[in-house]
């Protein structure tokens, strides 16, 4: 049985935040019932393809899945259980807004099997939350965490955003202290990113918002990193820290080149070497599935099979997001050629600059390299492009040791 992760996209939000460029829509709540029906049809379409897979994680992302009726989410989880094999210890996670999910709702979700919840806390400063267009108060975060605990949800994550305009190290420390006081099991820290086409991008452009420079943001990252380690958290990915045993298995699938289904509007999937993307708009998604109810490709807008070169660069770049790094042996097994044949000189250069360490079993980013993952990835991409995807050593891999 190969393992499989399932991502389900819920594209509805009460308010669309100014920094957000995810596939999410405000004011379309009336589509929710039809959307759930479409998701059930899409799952049905995948039934055959799911056979022989062990579903190790289910993740509801959005949008704001926490604002979907619990019954709808339960029906979706139920449909997945009937369509395929769900591992007994499967991680079933959900993103929620701390201000808009009540205790009863959380209990119903727990009853449906949800065992991990990720709250979009973002900040414990009211002013910062307003800047981010978040609809919750700092106090609501504590209430939501306590309710999740009471509902029996085993793993609680808080998402935080840093690098906000005027955010001093002291204020960021305050948010960290408050977050840790909630005793979460997992923390995801994301630097505020200006995405093209967002309201934030426009405000940065016209000068009404001034963001901190990369060095200041780097300071905030390092500050948080140190704080979290003191508090018993283990960093396992560039932006993710967990107490032992609470690493997100779902996200690890992305970084470890594992297969995952993407269900719902705008969802991305990666299965048997093919990457696909569903149509983005929920209305179009619903229309496609009602027109072709039993096809797992009904909603696919775009699909492609990455070239070997691209697959190599992806594998390495994603793997290096993990603090555990990558295993050169796994690269050889996956691609039939040696990691260092193609990437050796670039990795060597990065190692010389102190960004990468290559020690026997693993190749990983150093502490200093974590903030420069993009720089390292770009170099890897260029290296594989230059090699033309030609894989030194691949011939011997095909011919075997006798060749």
């Amino acid at each position: 049985m190969t393992s499989l992760a399932v991502y389900i996209h819920i594209p509805f939000c009460t308010v669309k935040c100014g920094y957000c460029d995810f596939n999410a829509y405000a004011g379309m709540d009336r589509l929710k019932a039809g959307y759930t029906r479409a998701l059930l049809l899409e799952i049905e379409g995948w039934r055959e393809a799911m056979a022989g897979h062990d579903v190790t994680s289910i993740a509801f992302g959005g949008g704001t899945p926490g604002e979907m009726p619990a019954g709808d989410l339960a029906a979706i989880i139920g449909a997945l259980r009937s369509a395929g094999t769900i591992a007994r210890d499967a991680e079933i996670g959900l993103e929620a807004n701390p201000g808009s999910i009540g205790p009863d709702h959380l209990c119903q979700l727990a009853a449906a099997g949800v065992n991990r919840i990720s709250f979009g806390a973002q900040s414990f400063e009211a002013g910062e939350l307003r800047f981010l267009d978040r609809i919750h108060s700092p106090e609501a975060i504590g209430v939501a965490v306590a309710n999740a605990r009471r509902a029996g949800i085993a793993s609680v994550n808080l998402d935080l955003i840093y690098g906000l305009p005027g955010q001093s190290p002291a204020r960021w420390r305050w948010t960290m202290v408050q977050a840790l006081a909630q005793q979460p099991d997992h923390l995801s820290l994301y630097a505020l990113t200006v995405e093209d086409g967002t309201i934030l991008a426009r405000r940065v452009q016209d000068g009404s918002v001034i963001l901190p420079g990369p060095d200041e943001v780097a300071d905030l990252y390092e500050l948080a990193s140190a704080r979290l380690e003191e508090s018993g958290f283990h960093q396992y990915e560039l932006s993710n820290w967990a107490r032992p045993g609470h690493e997100s298995r779902h996200n690890l699938t992305y970084w470890s080149d594992g297969d995952y289904l993407g269900l719902g509007a705008g969802a991305h999937g990666y299965i048997r070497g093919e990457r696909y993307e569903n149509v983005a708009h929920p209305r179009e998604y619903i229309r496609r599935l009602s027109a072709q109810p039993h096809s797992h490709r009904a909603a696919v807008a775009h699909a492609y099979r990455p070239s070997v070169a691209t697959a190599m660069a992806d594998w390495l770049s994603l793997g290096l997001r993990r603090t555990a790094g990558v295993d050169p042996g796994a690269f050889l097994a996956r691609f039939g050629s040696g990691l260092y044949g193609i990437f050796g000189s670039v990795l060597g250069e990065c190692a010389e600059a102190g960004l990468v360490e290559m020690s026997g079993e693993r190749t990983r980013l150093t502490r200093a390299g974590r903030l420069l993952h993009g720089e390292v990835s770009v170099r890897l991409l260029l290296a594989v492009e230059e090699s033309g995807g030609a894989c030194p050593g691949s011939l011997s891999a095909i011919l075997g040791p006798q060749g």
Partner: protein, 608 residues
């Protein structure tokens, strides 16, 4: 056509004063080209010419004009390049004519470069027909401009034709004036052939096509022809005229303008200014004025990706087929690898060539900062020419360095005299003389136009002088220059070290008094232009091994993408690919990535 019915003329005008529109109107009114063809023809012209609003290559057109005296005339219009960089080409075009239309914008008046061309035309005994164009414009002051023409050039008031090429006004008057005022071509049709090449271009089928004016004899038949300066000979493949497309004819008679397809493979064998004659019966003397195109500005052109070196060589060789004034030779730089040192007529020429190489040949190039050509006498009394700062000998081996100086003419309303003086003197310029082109008493204070003449080192006007001149005179000043002489100067080379490695392509030659300041400014500029690298990068400026300035580019600290949301790997990869594209545009020197702008930083020192 017998010589008495031929008129050869060109149009002298400043950029934007309406030369092309007037030429189009003449072609239309004589029925040479229809309105529809005009539009198509425009589409065919070189993109760059249209974008920059200038004529790069000369062109010619033959028109047939039925005049009011009942006679039919053959008019040959020879277009001239409109930029000061191409002054020699202009002079050859003028040499092919007996007359010229001098077109001046009714709202702008005479500009420096126009005046320079007027003097050039006068020195070649051309008959000038003054045309005040754009009289339809709301700000037009035709009377004032006519007065200026009278005062400055000495025309009679009633010679001046008022026109609006845009609206078709005055066109008939111009067409009449051409055959009445411009003399017929002289020349003996029975003498041995003498034809002047005023332009040439390469055609894949016909070889080099020379644009010619026949001064003596005639071109006909298959008899071998020879070039008097380069000594090449060829069998003519075809004669013809431009109307304005190439149209074959059996012969070109004495006084006529047209083309000859030479079959030659190299435009350098068929240079502008050379004289074509019969190989078997050559003329005694070539036509005067031949000059080898002399590049003024030199720069290194390197592929950013060294794999493109062969493609660059191929592209340069093909481009130079059409452009004899482009010279190049292989060069290697410690920092940049293999490339070419190229010589250009001027900065515009450099820009055009670099852009064409990138656009038409799909190359990614790096151009080093342009330089003039220095003459150096070494301590062992050897004379060398240095067109690349990196190649300047060690100071201990230099007895004397000489740099080229230019004589410049600036025309500006008198209220800007102070600003122009200041600009020129901060650039080591020396005042020569000043002349009022208009009587001050006739005009509001500060409005009278004045011509200022200076001597100034070429290196000082190479780069942004013209922009600065425009900027400090609210756009009113116009400029003309020509290289006058070489003068000794106290020059030193400033070397730049990036991460401890001297980067030859960043060196600059400067006056020793400015070396410290410019060295400091340059490393400060480079600190801003070179992106932060994975490690700290020291930048140093040195003169003769002594460090005079230092800056540090701190190591980059953050370049990381946020989460790959919902498993959208494709998007994340696209962001990385975009960064990768940026990296490809940079040149790696040692292990530091340097962007193109850094190599141009030396040009922007004056912004400080």
């Amino acid at each position: 056509m017998d010589q008495s019915h031929i008129r050869n003329f060109c149009i002298i005008a400043h950029i934007d004063h309406g030369k092309s529109t007037l030429a189009d109107r003449l072609l239309e009114r004589t029925g040479t080209v229809s309105r529809r063809e005009m539009a198509e023809q425009l589409l065919d012209s070189m993109d760059l010419e249209r974008e920059k609003g200038i004529t790069i290559k000369a062109a010619a057109a033959r028109m047939t004009y039925a005049a009011s005296d009942g006679q039919v005339y053959e008019y040959n219009l020879i277009d001239t390049p409109g930029h000061v960089d191409f002054a020699y080409e202009v002079s050859r075009s003028l040499a092919a004519c007996e007359g010229a239309l001098l077109v001046v914008d009714a709202s702008q008046g005479i500009e420096a470069q126009t005046l320079a061309n007027v003097y050039l035309a006068m020195s070649q005994d051309l008959r000038l027909i003054p045309v005040v164009n754009k009289i339809d414009l709301p700000h037009a002051e035709p009377e004032r401009v006519a007065h200026e023409l009278e005062r400055v050039i000495g025309f009679d008031r009633d010679e001046v034709i008022f026109a609006s090429a845009k609206e078709g006004a005055g066109i008939d008057e111009i067409l009449e004036a051409i055959h009445v005022r411009i003399p017929r071509p002289a020349g003996d049709p029975n003498a041995p052939l003498k034809a002047l090449i005023f332009d040439s271009k390469y055609d894949a089928y016909k070889g080099v096509v020379a644009h010619v004016r026949v001064f003596e004899g005639a071109m006909e038949g298959r008899r071998s022809l020879g070039l008097m300066q380069t000594g090449s000979t060829f069998e003519p493949l075809e004669y013809g005229i431009f109307s304005p497309q190439m149209r074959p004819l059996p012969a070109l008679g004495c006084g006529e303008v047209g083309y000859v397809a030479t079959g030659l493979k190299d435009v350098a064998e068929c240079r502008v200014g050379d004289t074509i004659t019969l190989a078997s019966q050559p003329a005694a003397e070539p036509l005067p004025g031949y000059r080898q195109a002399k590049p003024m500005v030199f720069a290194g052109i390197y592929p950013t990706d060294s794999d493109q070196y062969q493609e660059l060589r191929e592209a340069l060789s093909r481009l130079s087929l059409n452009d004899a004034s482009l010279v190049y030779e292989p060069e290697s730089s410690v920092a940049l690898g293999f490339g070419f040192r190229c010589g250009f007529l001027g900065l515009l020429h450099l820009e055009i060539v670099a852009e064409r190489l990138e656009r038409e040949y799909g190359l990614r190039l790096l151009t080093t900062a342009p330089s003039v050509e220095y003459e150096v006498t070494t301590t062992s009394a050897e004379e060398i020419v240095v067109d690349n700062p990196a190649a300047l000998p060690d100071p201990s081996k230099i007895a004397e360095i000489r740099e080229p100086w230019a004589r410049i003419d600036v025309i500006t309303p008198s209220r800007f005299i102070g600003q122009v003086m200041e600009l020129v003197t901060t650039r080591r310029g020396q005042f020569v003389r000043m002349e009022y082109l208009e009587a001050e008493s006739d005009l509001a204070p500060g409005e009278a136009r004045v011509m200022l003449e200076y001597d100034i080192p070429m290196a000082e006007i190479l780069v942004d002088f013209y922009d600065q001149l425009k900027g400090s005179t609210s756009g009113y000043a116009s400029l003309d220059y020509h290289v006058s002489e070489y003068r000794p100067a106290n020059l030193v080379k400033v070397d730049i070290l990036v991460n401890g490695i001297p980067v030859d392509a960043l060196s600059l030659i400067t006056h020793s008094a400015n070396a410290h300041r410019e060295g400091r400014q340059l490393v400060a500029k480079l600190r801003d232009l070179i992106p932060r690298q994975m490690f700290e990068v020291p930048l140093q400026a040195a003169v003769g091994g002594r460090i005079i300035a230092r800056e540090t580019i701190r190591a980059m600290r953050k370049n990381v993408l946020a989460k790959c949301y919902g498993g959208d790997i494709t998007r994340k990869r696209k962001l990385l690919e975009k960064q990768a594209e940026g990296k490809k545009r940079m040149k790696r020197v040692g292990n530091v990535e340097i962007p193109q702008e850094a190599f141009m930083a030396v040009l922007r020192l004056r912004d400080e």
